[in-house]
Symmetry: C2
Subunit: 144 residues, 2 copies
């Protein structure tokens, strides 16, 4: 469904979000430990998320990654996914036709479109804030 990079990216954002609640910056080392991901690879993904303006980074001692508290409710899963995996998952044809539209539909177009739009809706309406709360409350987990 999503690439490994995207999975790591989402989980990293959630963990950064939790720490940002407490005003703490966090390093790729601690992040990859918490989400069970390869450290250097995760760092690359974080760089991309910084460029996409989803997380903020601070170099030097006492630096690390954080997310503006004021953004936590506004950032949706869709932003993270689109930023890492692009928009194929939101609008691409299920059977790989170059373009997906009503005028030149593939055999599964109608049925696939329905599912794809449900996924899109879900991703666009799930905020980083609520996901972070799930972890904070102990209801959900980031690894194993």
């Amino acid at each position: 469904m999503f690439s490994k990079a995207c999975e790591y990216g989402i989980k990293a954002c959630i963990f950064i979000a939790i720490n940002s609640y407490d005003g703490k910056r966090i390093s790729p080392r601690d992040i990859s430990k918490e989400i069970a991901s390869p450290q250097a690879f995760t760092a690359k993904i974080l760089q991309a998320l910084v460029k996409s303006d989803i997380v903020r980074s601070y170099k030097g001692a006492y630096g690390g990654f954080e997310i503006d508290k004021s953004k936590l409710a506004k950032i949706k899963l869709a932003h993270i996914v689109a930023s890492i995996d692009g928009d194929q998952v939101f609008s691409g044809c299920g059977l790989g036709l170059e373009i997906c539209n009503e005028n030149h539909p593939c055999p599964v177009h109608e049925k696939f479109k329905k599912v794809r739009e449900d996924l899109k809706f879900m991703l666009e309406n799930t905020s980083l804030e609520e996901l972070a709360l799930g972890i904070k409350s102990g209801e959900a987990f980031l690894k194993t």
Copy 2:
């Protein structure tokens, strides 16, 4: 969503189905031409589909691939997808946790599960027959 191999596999099955209606066997060459896929790669996928007992192959002159007419309504997209991509798409965690269940859910579990099961339902209730009819009637297309 699906691998290239799976996309080709589905499209190949649909085209074989159409021909099987008319009692015609069809070659990998004609299939890959019709669905715009690499020929040798498509042939490999067809081999796998034969082993999965979804399509039948006949060697030698006047040979080729076909699907039992009596099976066309019974074969569902889910069978083809499971046979090529495995069952991760049906039961795997959206964030890559090793196992997906209620006892140890990832942060998106509830929401993702809903979408995943809608997809599962769609794939389990879409037959090769109806997809083939979509192509035969000219409503749908297999390439570009």
